[in-house]
């Protein structure tokens, strides 16, 4: 139920966006999210865009994954 997928906004018509997940297109309501533009990635959840994806944070997360934990080593 709380599954959401990142989808790319293709175009916007009023409060409805057409988004792509890979090559499949879906409609996403923008009633719960402001400032969405074509090219943005949004989290699509039960027909609604509920958050925008932050590309800088996404890259930072990948960088953190690769860190070596050194809590017990000096």
């Amino acid at each position: 139920m709380c599954l959401g997928v990142p989808a790319r906004v293709i175009h916007i018509d009023g409060s409805v966006a057409t988004v792509a997940l890979g090559s499949v297109e879906y409609k996403a309501s923008l009633l719960l999210l402001n400032n969405v533009n074509p090219g943005d990635y949004v989290l699509l959840h039960a027909g609604f865009a509920i958050e925008k994806i932050d590309p800088a944070e996404a890259a930072e997360t990948i960088r953190l994954f690769n860190e070596i934990s050194n809590m017990y080593e000096e």
Partner: protein, 364 residues
């Protein structure tokens, strides 16, 4: 059948990364810990990807109450069934709910017996059905937490704006913090919470401070891909090893500190917190969302007076204990023998994110 690279998905599934994170966890984990994955979506992701195989024996994962279908009370299912029996009624709902056994029947059986019950992907589809069937009453059976509640609220507001007067919500929407508090204060031993990423996208971090500060539990908001989950476990293990409990956010690409203000505002306008019944937790204060006076005209509970049979919980089912991390599906005597996805005894075997159904599907 994956057409092209899926951005923000593929890179978080990288197998070398998963192995690396697994090694890091093995390196830092010394004490045995119980971590609760609150969200059923996490339970599903963990087992689908076999992530327990990447964890040392020190780490015990407990399933939590974050499965909307599972925690919906039997009375609620019975209420929905009773509504479906009214004349000129179309019931609409997310698919998962259909097969949950009520006291005497299920929505699926009622549908087969002639009730007009339709599965929708979005609550806005239900609104569209109302628009196309003005002579009928259309009820959307709303379940879910802070992720789906704003969607239901937005649909009610849209119904008002578009002058659709035959659309109603039967709300079993719930909010997470009171349930987590009931768990933290209860007798399940939980050292840390893998906090639900998409609920947090709406709520922000604030709701979790108490669990770190007052209850001394680790909290990490987590994404849903394999590397996200392992990284979150690593972060939790470090917090617990150092007894340094705080709220961390692994899922920064989605979750902002203040959440989604627009969704929160819509939710607050349409809903008011009320005491609600959770399977496994009983009545939890202020954990349910009822419709405010202002939108009373869209409230199926106020509009339709139906008789609901006294509920009889299924015998032998320990779904409630599983939802509170006290038991695992394999502890249930009915698991996989009497109870299976084709013949579910309890709600935890129905939902695709219910622990029993997940364990059944991915059992060794």
């Amino acid at each position: 059948m994956k057409p092209e690279g899926l951005r923000y998905i593929d890179e978080y599934r990288d197998s070398a990364l998963v192995l690396h994170l697994s090694n890091q966890i093995r390196k830092v984990s010394k004490k045995p810990v119980n971590l609760m994955e609150v969200c059923g979506g996490h339970t599903m992701a963990i087992h689908k990807n076999g992530l327990t195989g990447f964890l040392p024996e020190t780490i015990n994962l407990l399933s939590g109450p974050g499965c909307p279908v599972c925690v919906s009370s039997q009375t609620f299912i019975d209420h929905a069934i009773a509504l479906g029996n009214l004349p000129d009624m179309i019931l609409t709902t997310y698919g998962d709910l259909l097969r949950v056994p009520g006291s005497l029947s299920s929505l699926e059986k009622e549908k087969a017996a002639g009730s007009d019950i339709r599965i929708v992907y979005s609550v806005l589809d239900a609104l569209e059905i109302a628009k196309q069937n003005r002579k009928k009453q259309v009820v959307f059976i709303g379940i879910g937490f802070e992720t789906t509640a704003p969607a239901s609220a937005a649909a009610i507001k849209k119904a008002e704006m578009d002058g659709i007067r035959n659309f109603y919500l039967l709300s079993s929407h719930k909010v997470m913090p009171p349930a987590l508090e009931a768990l933290a204060a209860g007798d399940t031993k939980i050292d840390g919470f893998i906090a639900p990423g998409h609920v947090s996208a709406i709520t922000g971090y604030g709701i979790y401070q108490k669990f770190a500060k007052v209850y001394k539990r680790g909290v990490v908001i987590s994404g849903f891909e394999p590397a996200d989950i392992l990284q979150s476990i690593l972060m939790l293990v470090k917090q617990i090893e150092l007894s340094n409990y705080h709220v961390e956010n692994e899922y920064k690409r989605i979750v902002k500190p203040g959440g989604n203000p627009k969704a929160l505002a819509i939710m607050e306008e349409v809903f008011i917190p009320v005491d609600a019944e959770w399977r496994g937790l009983g009545i939890v204060p202020e954990s349910g969302l009822a419709i405010t006076e202002k939108f009373a005209a869209y409230d199926a509970t106020r509009k339709f007076d139906v008789k609901i049979p006294e509920s009889k919980p299924p015998r032998g089912c320990i779904c409630g204990e599983i939802l509170t991390g006290k038991s695992k599906p394999s502890d249930c005597r009915l698991f996989a023998s009497v109870c299976n996805p084709l013949n579910p005894v309890g709600a935890c075997m129905v939902s695709s994110e219910g622990a029993c159904s997940v364990f059944y599907k991915y059992r060794a």
